[in-house]
């Protein structure tokens, strides 16, 4: 059985207990003021985003089963880790996802249809981070993007855009990766470079318990957040199913990064309720008892309980549910209307500058296809 809740004896930061009450322990004390500053609309937005992205996830999984996508990558169960941390980032920050961060993309302004197009086989990503709230492309080679994020953060330093003391213009990078990625050399190298250059950067590790079928306990004999200490990077472990903890801890560490205090690591303990992808069968490697224990710790119901304690009524939750249905219906409608990619896509952007082989092969393909007299 997977035990991804390895701790060093320290309690993970939790601001919201599983029954939806605000906690008041010492571990969370330094973060509580970030929550205190949130207004009602912001608090509602967290719930709205978690519910909408889960409904999107369900719709996309159904579309995949109906043949509209080759693959689906569910994010169910990880909404709090993603929504809280994404809201902690400022407009000018850059976010580097792995490939399950649908909520983060949505919050930064990515049209979720881009994710559908990627998993449908129409694109390899294809969005422009400059137009999607600095939300970068998904990276499928596990851990590779942690180095891109670190390099980007080095560029922020070269530009003098961190540590000036101006919180409205100082920039930071946050990179999302999973427990499996921590075994990759690139993640260790990213830690080395980040520590060496003291990059303005937060490493946001979603420990969802499983690297496809291999539990965290096989990947690591030590709590993952303790690894970074060996690289000279401070770290903290949080309850990843607590959206307020995810928000507050990410906000603090991003503030530190922007203000020139260097990199840090956040390990969010969460759980992948769904399969790794639509091609996976988690019943082969994990128990129903484990699954049920995490469903009982569902991040959305916890947060709904909190909002109801605060006096939020049925009308709000009904409105959110309606909005989620609308988003799902819109995705379904636009997915069914998608056309296949142009064959020009084979050649047009392999290089930025003119390339004789691309020109020749594009021309050859056009002639070959036209040789069928339009019947192909």
């Amino acid at each position: 059985m997977a035990d991804n809740t390895q701790t060093s004896g320290d309690k993970p930061v939790q601001l919201l207990s599983p029954d939806g009450a605000l906690t008041t322990d010492d571990v969370g004390a330094e973060y509580v003021h970030y929550v205190d500053q949130l207004n009602d609309d912001q608090l509602r937005r967290f719930h709205r985003d978690m519910v909408v992205v889960r409904r999107f996830d369900v719709e996309a999984a159904n579309l995949q089963k109906q043949g509209q996508m080759g693959l689906w990558v569910p994010s169910m169960g990880q909404e709090a880790a993603q929504v809280g941390s994404a809201h902690a980032a400022k407009t000018q920050d850059h976010l580097f996802p792995a490939y399950r961060e649908h909520a983060v993309g949505m919050i930064r302004g990515l049209d979720l249809l881009h994710i559908v197009e990627l998993l449908r086989g129409n694109t390899h990503g294809g969005w422009n981070p400059a137009e999607t709230g600095n939300f970068h492309l998904y990276t499928l080679v596990i851990g590779s993007h942690t180095l891109h994020a670190t390099g980007y953060a080095m560029g922020i330093q070269f530009d003098g855009k961190a540590g000036t003391g101006n919180p409205d213009t100082d920039e930071a990078v946050m990179v999302y990766f999973g427990d499996g990625a921590t075994s990759q050399g690139d993640v260790s190298e990213a830690f080395v470079f980040a520590a060496s250059y003291q990059t303005p950067q937060v490493f946001f590790l979603q420990n969802n318990g499983w690297a496809i079928s291999v539990p965290v306990s096989v990947q690591s004999r030590t709590p993952l957040y303790l690894r970074s200490a060996g690289f000279g990077i401070p770290s903290v472990q949080i309850d990843g199913n607590d959206v307020l903890a995810s928000y507050a801890v990410a906000a603090k560490h991003l503030d530190d990064a922007r203000s020139g205090k260097g990199p840090s690591v956040i390990e969010a303990l969460t759980y992948r309720i769904g399969a790794h992808t639509s091609s996976d069968d988690p019943t082969k490697y994990r128990t129903n008892a484990e699954l049920q224990s995490w469903i009982a710790r569902d991040p959305i119901s916890r947060y709904e309980a909190y909002l109801r304690h605060r006096g939020e009524g049925d009308a709000f939750f009904a409105d959110v549910a309606t909005e989620a249905e609308d988003v799902a219906a819109d995705i379904r409608r636009r997915t069914l209307a998608l056309e296949g990619p142009s064959t020009d896509k084979l050649f047009d952007h392999v290089y930025s500058e003119q390339h004789p082989v691309m020109d020749a092969q594009k021309q050859w393909l056009a002639q070959y296809e036209s040789s069928f007299g339009g019947l192909a």
């Binding site: 070269f158 990213a190 290089y351």
Partner: protein, 352 residues
Amino acid sequence: MSEQDTSPAWAETLPEAGDGRASRSAATDIVELPLAKALNAGLRKALAGDPKVLLMGEDIGPLGGVFRVTEGLQAEFGRRVMDTPLAESGIVGTAIGLAMRGYRPVCEIQFDGFIFPGFDQITTQLAKMTNRHEGQVQMPVVIRVPYGGHIGAVEHHQESPEAYFAHTPGLRLVSPSTPHDAYWMIQEAIASNDPVMFFEPKSRYWHKGPVDLNFNQSSLHASKVVRTGTEVTVVGHGAMVNVLLQAAEIAQGEGTSIEVIDLRSLSPIDYEPLLASVQKTGRLVIASEAPGFASLPSEIAATVTERLFYSLEAPVLRVTGFDAPFPPAKLETIYLPDADRVLEAVDRALAY
């Protein structure tokens, strides 16, 4: 593409080519430099001309790199010349992030055989990043690789890994053979908005040659006839060009006329000068230090055979390293093609 289009942007600060020709004197414009120093001068020019150019690599700061190619540059350009941690994947991976931010990183891989920890970042990330973004993000990254044998070094220090990268769409590969080309091609590679693998013939680092600082007569991806002849065409790149010129000289003494082509660009390959030459000679020998199986010579042989089947008087022949690991240094002169091995193939081609 015109000459103008392929020159780096900062070359515009130099005298116009026309003016240069008019006022040029050998004493002022043409300098004798070893290839490594020519690269150093080219890197300095690029750093001075564009504040976005960065150098990164192992030991390239105060030491100036293990081959001293970056000597003095950190003193001149400060933190823009970065001694990185000892991690090739980290160097290339962070260079990608810097390029996303608008920088033009030039990475030094210390030795050819040490590029493989960075192979994943080069082939799955750097090469595909522009394509993945559908052209909306560019990757002006140069990977400098001192490559090849003839220096008597230990394992992993004398290899020729070009073919691995030539097989990867999205990369451009070039390799200068002379100090003049080294000076200009490094600047053109840095000016390119695509990733460029820059293979430096390390056995030629210390050989001097003339460098015309004002006039670049070629473009980055053009191959070049460097010696004219009529009976057999021989082609190669980097350090092999000098071997081919030696072979041509020996052959001339024996009454055989060899045309020598310096490939210069390994991807894309500029075939026109090569095809024109083979149409004339009807015979082609391709030489490379790398193992011959699934190699650049194999690729060129296939293409020339497809394009010039009826012009060939003999099969296209390859002269390469053996399909065995690069040997301990005491055997390298046996492993690496020399002028005699090239001439053996020339004789076979002429025997058809």
